[in-house]
């Protein structure tokens, strides 16, 4: 069977280009629109918003987008799969239903609502049952920071998405489903792949990985020959055209900018890569060293040969916890001797912070234009630099020293080295730090709690 299923990427993160999903739906034939909203710390931001307003906690941008797209989505029979639900998928699903009613699309929108990833309310029960939820990086047990936890979500895989599709949902709203599961789920539904057909599961996972960051695989942020990338004013977001044998092509709509070539796909493949032999997801383990790429025409790369292995008995859990406070202040020093002036200003500021007896976990100085991105690898700066930005960040567990720091930047303008500007933005803001705590849990503790509702507009 040569049937292809076309899955189009609409958003690569919460804050991605708002025109992209609309153009994906209108720019040519697609079967699915996949929108990934959740980065590691996104859940904690949503949790914070929900604590202020119980109706919030999801990617709000998604609703006005759906208001624009729903008539086309319904008219063309496109199905939308997204993790925009964040920590409040039910609130998100209800907002989609309200949008559908407002557009007079009653009876035409069935929202699949996936819940059960949120384990914040079960943490103590899980700890008591002997799940330490250790930080995968430091090995510390969760009890160390239990009272500071703001959100806790297990990464779900393809199963609830397949169930929602099988029950006729045309808009699927989830919480913490893996980025790749949003692509893999529709493929398993369409092709009826067995859940233990590890090579095909890996293939669908890698298709998902290639398109989950939006235009980052179709010419955006492309390093190789970047000057030759045309039309980024209207970047074509990637589309995976998948076949039942697990092979697929990456392409984009005709008439859009950007480029799909070996370089653009390779750069995305290595993005955030760990051990390439073991790309672990809830649904299987993909081997990136098996991927074969071939340029198969303009803006078209064929992907095949993918192998995979069995899923593990654990699911990853993403926990966000309150860590402390930080602030970053900046000032700009101009020629002549810009760098020297900025360094002296840094000295003066640090001296004052010391004299005030303020204690910080860290004070970090970077000189933008000299060493902010490459550190000492950048070498000695030209003595003739037109300007240097002094950028000082501080972090503390307590708010007070950070608050005081934010009041010590402006005085440097009149009390420090000369030819300084760039303070129009006012005092830097004190930011609350919500940190990320990745852990593992037995999948048997999570999967029985995963639930799919199909709600009709």
């Amino acid at each position: 069977m040569n049937r292809t299923v076309r899955i189009a990427a609409g958003q690569g993160f919460w804050g991605d280009w708002l025109e992209a999903p609309v153009r994906q739906v209108r720019g040519g034939p697609i079967d699915y629109l996949m929108m990934d909203y959740l980065a590691e710390v996104t859940m904690s931001i949503m949790q914070k918003q929900r604590s202020r307003d119980p109706a919030m906690g999801y990617a709000r941008d998604f609703i006005p987008l759906m208001e624009r797209m729903l008539p086309d989505v319904v008219g063309k029979g496109v199905r939308v799969v997204t993790n925009a639900g964040g920590v409040n998928p039910r609130g998100c699903a209800e907002a989609v239903l309200a949008a559908a009613r407002k557009l007079g699309l009653q009876g035409k929108v069935r929202v699949g609502l996936v819940t059960g990833d949120d384990i914040l309310g079960r943490l103590d029960e899980l700890l008591a049952k002997g799940h330490p939820l250790k930080d995968l990086d430091s090995g510390r047990p969760l009890t160390d920071i239990r009272d500071k936890v703001l959100s806790a979500n297990a990464y779900l895989g393809l199963a609830p998405i397949v169930e929602a599709l099988a029950r006729g949902a045309n808009v699927i709203v989830t919480g913490r489903v893996t980025d790749t599961g949003l692509t893999l789920g529709p493929l398993v539904h369409e092709f009826g792949w067995a859940r233990d057909d590890w090579d095909r599961i890996a293939a669908g996972t890698i298709a998902g990985h290639i398109i989950e960051c939006g235009a980052q695989s179709s010419g955006g942020n492309l390093m190789r020959d970047w000057r030759k990338v045309r039309g980024l004013e209207n970047p074509g977001f990637p589309i995976a055209e998948a076949r039942s044998d697990g092979s697929f092509a990456i392409t984009k709509h005709p008439g859009t900018g950007g480029v799909v070539n070996l370089a653009s796909v390779k750069e995305q493949l290595v993005y955030e890569m760990g051990d390439p032999h073991n790309y672990i997801t809830p649904d299987g383990v993909a081997d990136f060293t098996s991927i074969q790429l071939r340029q198969a025409g303009k803006d078209r790369v064929e992907v095949s040969g993918i192998r995979g292995g069995p899923r593990t008995d654990k699911l990853k859990v993403s926990i966000a916890y309150f860590y402390g406070y930080k602030a970053v202040g900046t000032l700009v020093y101009s020629w002549p001797d810009a760098y020297e002036k900025a360094r002296r200003a840094d000295q003066v500021l640090r001296g004052r912070l010391r004299d005030l007896g303020l204690e910080f976990e860290q004070v970090l100085t970077e000189f933008v234009g000299v060493n902010a991105t490459h550190g000492r690898l950048a070498g000695a700066p030209s003595p003739d630099l037109a300007e240097v930005q002094l950028r000082i960040g501080v972090r503390a567990r307590e708010r007070a020293p950070v608050e005081r720091f934010t009041r010590e930047i402006a005085p440097l303008v009149l009390t420090g080295p000369p030819s300084v500007t760039g303070f129009a933005g006012g005092r830097p803001a004190v930011e609350e730090i919500v940190a990320y705590w990745p852990a593992l849990i037995d999948r048997t503790e999570i999967e029985p709690h995963v639930h799919v509702d199909v709600l009709q507009a």
């Binding site: 190789r224 290595v270 032999h277 930080k326």
Partner: protein
């Protein structure tokens, strides 16, 4: 090699001078993208041409990358992806705590890729000429 050079000379042909290997910055041989996982940055280093890949495998060693980033990272791992003509490096402890904790401009390691491309490696002279031509 010196033997063959001298034998060519003895037959009176114009021999190319024996060139020592050139030193080339990686940006002439590879492109790259980086990302983060916690306090670890990864850099995927991708050969610009298939014949550059074996040179990358041989010269861009784990130890050399660790030396390149000394003082900036706490440990380096290397993986090979011959199918993509790519190496993947994990740079542990590279992000000053990483994620939201880090105070760095590049808290998510987005441009560690280009920091690796500053590294110089020895390259056979003919390949260096080709790489320089390709870059111009």
């Amino acid at each position: 090699m010196s033997t063959s050079t001298s034998s060519r000379r003895s037959r009176g042909r114009a021999a190319p001078p024996a060139r020592p290997p050139a030193r080339l910055q990686l940006h002439l041989l590879a492109h790259a993208r980086s990302g983060d996982k916690g306090d670890t940055a990864n850099v995927g280093l991708i050969a610009l041409e298939p014949e550059y890949y074996p040179v990358l495998v041989k010269e861009v060693t784990r130890a050399r990358v660790a030396r390149h980033f000394r003082g900036m990272v706490s440990g380096v791992e290397r993986f090979e992806l011959p199918n993509l003509g790519a190496l993947n490096f994990l740079l542990h402890g590279a992000l000053d705590g990483g994620g939201t904790i880090s105070l760095k401009t590049d808290a998510q390691g987005k441009v560690y890729s280009t920091a690796l491309l500053r590294m110089e490696i020895p390259v056979p002279a003919a390949l260096a000429r080709r790489a320089r031509r390709g870059a111009s």
